[in-house]
Symmetry: C2
Subunit: 159 residues, 2 copies
């Protein structure tokens, strides 16, 4: 199984995450835009995920909440820019615990025959914002999400 | 009069524009969020400006069109993220001639007594996108806008 690669270069307010999945592009795209599927893989394994809204179209908004067993919850929301397609899913991303700190995410899904390479570029308002995101445990979330998405795609293809 | 400073460092997908204005922060803020004022200074001097919508609040959208004497028009739109304040006006920005290319802009207005330092950070999806924006004549637009805003602020304070 492919591993999640995370790149965060010094001085550049950006994080790039790539991972190849053993599934065709159309199926991977569905996992990104259908909330029933998204809720099964996005986020750390130990947090429960509740999707409040997920309107995957140009100008549509989304919001979800991650909750832990201790009753803490973490809300996130954003806005889609352009109609999502496998060529680009563009959205803003805000953690409600840090208002005013916004990130712009662009996910592209490259067709590799039976496999799909997913590349997500996150653009931050500053290097400090980017570093705060890295320090918040974003790496664990990204690795868990990648592993969970691979498992979901395998399950969907087996069924 | 202060000059517009534009910083676009190699390899960093960002443009930073700063300019100090001879006007108090509250007035400069009004010029950013009131569409009647914005339409008097934003953009190159030789283009006419039509504001389609400008809903300066969290989640509000904006759109304007620049038109030249030859009948060409250039549409731009975006979404406010968070309620604008002098501490931060955060919005996305898309040129309708290049769909899918989105930029995240953060303007901060620093109080310098009778003067105000405006700093705008534009975060791009890639260095290529940033370079395309620079090549499009964005520098002229930024310098014209800064000069026109200085003139408008002087006029508002004289009246």
């Amino acid at each position: 199984m492919s591993r999640t690669q995370i790149t965060a270069e010094p001085g550049i307010p950006q994080i790039i995450i790539t991972r190849e999945f053993d599934a065709p592009r159309g199926l991977v795209f569905r996992a990104f835009i259908e909330p029933d599927l998204l809720g099964q893989w996005l986020g750390p394994r130990d947090l429960a995920m509740t999707i409040d809204r997920y309107d995957a179209r140009d100008g549509g908004t989304w919001r979800y909440v991650h909750s832990d067993a201790q009753g803490n919850s973490y809300g996130f929301h954003g806005v889609f820019h352009g109609d999502p397609s496998p060529d680009a899913i563009v959205q803003t991303f805000e953690f409600e615990g840090a208002p005013g700190h916004v990130c712009l995410q662009t996910a592209t899904l490259a067709d590799r025959g039976p496999k799909t390479l997913v590349r997500t570029v996150s653009a931050f308002q500053s290097v400090e914002d980017r570093d705060a995101m890295v320090a918040s445990g974003m790496e664990r979330g990204a690795r868990d999400s990648g592993g969970r998405l691979a498992e979901l795609l395998a399950k969907l293809q087996a069924s």
